[in-house]
């Protein structure tokens, strides 16, 4: 299986990454992709608040290892030909891409499910943290969401 994992400040090119993942592998018949973006609003203490920038922090070394383990877990569950996970860190503006997951397989079901599995587990296990800056200049760390824990837990049932 072809695996590409990267934690980087630079933007990514989803089309180029897909071409790279699939190059030279005639067994790939389906690629599911997910791109997460910086959303312009979030709930802050129960109220909708606008977000101007996000700063993403990670645990160098551990994060890459955790992503590798998540990809390995996906490969045990589905027949995958390749997986790409690119997660950005540093300061990101409204609308910018944060994360790319590509899952390639012979058929669509494995690709769809593996892509969703990788994102769901990444949200609860990969050591990344978001800090939001609001238009008034104040900053706050984003709290973990209960719904993310539930989304990850359903794969373990």
């Amino acid at each position: 299986m072809k695996v590409h994992i990267a934690v980087q400040e630079a933007p990514f090119d989803a089309a180029a990454e897909q071409a790279r993942l699939c190059a030279g592998d005639p067994n790939i018949g389906a690629v599911a992709s997910f791109v997460g973006l910086v959303r312009g609003h979030n709930r802050v203490e129960g109220q909708e608040a606008e977000v101007s920038t996000l700063t993403l922090e990670h645990y160098p070394g551990m994060t890459e290892k955790a992503l590798g383990r998540i990809v390995d877990a996906a490969a045990e569950r589905w027949p995958l030909q390749g997986v790409t996970v690119i997660h950005r860190v540093g300061e990101l503006r409204l609308g910018e891409p944060i994360v790319l997951v590509l899952a390639a397989s012979a058929h669509r079901q494995a690709a769809f499910e593996a892509c969703q599995f990788i994102m769901d587990i990444l949200k609860t296990e990969a050591p990344f943290w978001k800090k939001e800056r609001l238009p008034d200049g104040s900053e706050r760390w984003v709290d973990a969401r209960e719904s993310d824990g539930e989304a990850a837990a359903r794969w373990l049932r």
Binding site: G36, L56, E57, H58, Y59, G61, M62, K65, H87, I98, V99, M119, L122, K123, T124, E125, A126, P127, F128, W129, K130, K131, W141, V142, D143, A144, R145, D148
Partner: protein, 80 residues
């Protein structure tokens, strides 16, 4: 000797990103308790949900610490 690293909100609360401890208790849970007893800011930071890692792997309080280990403390993750 062990290396201890703090991330995100926890680092901000403690005002420190990393430190080296010359002597350490035998388990990760005991280390967390010892750090939480350092003062008000430490007690407050460790009162919330804190995840722990040893040598880049998630670890529980019973994990035995060894000389040269890298320990990480951090809040629940919010990537993606």
């Amino acid at each position: 000797m062990i290396q201890v690293r703090y991330f995100a909100r926890l680092r901000d609360q403690l005002g420190t990103a990393a430190e080296t401890l010359d002597d350490h208790p035998s388990t990760l849970g005991e280390l967390a308790e010892r750090l939480a007893a350092r003062g008000e800011a430490w007690a407050e930071a460790f009162a919330g949900p804190v995840l722990m890692a040893v040598n880049h792997e998630m670890a529980g309080p019973d994990t035995v610490l060894h000389d040269g280990d890298e320990v990480g403390f951090f809040p629940p993750v919010t990537g993606g």
